[in-house]
């Protein structure tokens, strides 16, 4: 999870590195730790370290990790030559490694040679059927080919064994959302909430999915999860604030007139959300304030 302080640290390091202030290695380490996709930067600054023998030796044994990181970044930027060279260096150092065999397969995959890549992944899995990363690559490749259904199938099979892998659950949830299979996506998000109950963004996505599904019960649940997102982010998540408003309006439409008791209790929540939104807009984007008011008026929430 990328927290606020980590994001700030990353931005600070990034601007420092961009202005030639050094700290490239720390920057790359942080990217690796936070699992952020900044392939262009990784490629650029990783190469400056790797091409300088003095810098390269100063990081010691982590050199090889860096080669791997740069190789993947190069694949992402489609600089195949760099990737190939990195893999060659790694291959020389670790002739037997499975991890590098996977990198080689990824190179094939990036070039679009699906069949060769698939063969390589399959042979890797034959050797070690518990190789999680390779399983995941195969799913990703199916997705890249455009064969989403196959990706879903692979992923489901994978999750049958590795059912505590939240990254895979997240991928599956996102695929289901893209396929508009919201019920299944909701299940995946529940699983994510179970494994990391304090991450507000899962609550938020779950609420989004429930809101999209519609129906009174789902809307009420969605509103609750928007509320928990608000609480877990200290009210700083704009999307959750909007979500609360939308849910409140939708519920009001569905239950016209006959308000039940529970609603009355939490009546304040959306009016507070509206106030918070207005305050936030006033502070950060005053020119867009009329837009907000008109939107809220159309939801019949603004007084």
């Amino acid at each position: 999870m990328v927290s606020k302080s980590e994001e700030e640290q990353l931005n600070r390091l990034e601007s420092q590195v961009e202005n030639g202030g050094g700290g490239a290695w720390e920057y790359l380490c942080l990217i690796r730790k936070l699992k952020i996709r900044r392939s262009d930067n990784v490629l650029k600054y990783g190469l400056t370290i790797l091409n300088d023998p003095k810098k390269r030796s100063s990081i010691g044994n982590d050199e090889w990790t860096l080669y791997e990181q740069v190789a993947i970044a190069a694949l992402d930027c489609h600089s195949y030559d760099v990737a190939k060279d990195c893999i060659k260096v790694l291959r020389k150092k670790f002739p037997e490694s499975k991890r590098i065999a996977r990198l080689e397969a990824m190179l094939l995959e990036a070039k679009g040679l699906w069949e060769e890549a698939d063969k390589a992944y399959s042979s890797l899995l034959e050797d070690n059927p518990l190789d999680q990363a390779t399983h995941k690559r195969r799913v990703a490749m199916a997705k890249a080919e455009g064969d989403i259904l196959k990706a879903v199938e692979w992923l489901n099979k994978y999750l049958e064994i590795f059912m505590a892998d939240h990254e895979a659950w997240r991928e599956l949830a996102e695929i289901y959302v893209s396929l508009q299979m919201y019920k299944q996506a909701a299940f995946c998000y529940e699983e994510l909430i179970l494994s990391q109950p304090t991450v507000p963004l899962y609550h938020l996505s779950y609420a989004d999915v429930l809101y999209t599904l519609g129906g009174l019960e789902n809307l009420q649940t969605a509103k609750k999860y928007y509320a928990s997102t608000i609480d877990l982010t200290g009210g700083k998540n704009t999307r959750a604030l909007y979500g609360t408003c939308l849910c409140a309006s939708a519920i009001a439409q569905l239950t016209k007139g006959g308000r039940n008791r529970e609603d009355k209790e939490n009546q304040d929540l959306h009016s507070l959300a509206v106030t918070a939104l207005e305050k936030d807009y006033k502070k950060r984007a005053p020119s867009k304030l009329p837009l907000l008011t008109s939107t809220l008026r159309s939801l019949k929430l603004s007084s």
């Binding site: 990036a110 995941k136 963004l201």
Partner: protein
Amino acid sequence: MTGLGFVVGVLGVLFLSHAAYSTIQYKNLLKITEDEFSGPPMNVVLELVLGFMFCMHAALSVPGKFQSIHPDSEENRVVSLPANMEFMIFNHRGRAIISEMDMKLKL
């Protein structure tokens, strides 16, 4: 910060060892003069107090900072999820952009 704290801690430990050493010397002296040991001399006590304070500082600063445990606090607030790197796909629009970076790994 941590580096300084560490140095202070080492200094504190050195103070303590020196205090031990001077006490041994002092006791040897007492043996010669055949006096009873009633307590360490003033400079040793002073050294001990100083060493303890240094160690205290080191013990509190070296192990790191406390981190807030509330998920909604300003520093812990999750702002974005990590990119799901293991599922990353390369078949994206970046393919259409001709890479202008003519970078090479020098072998």
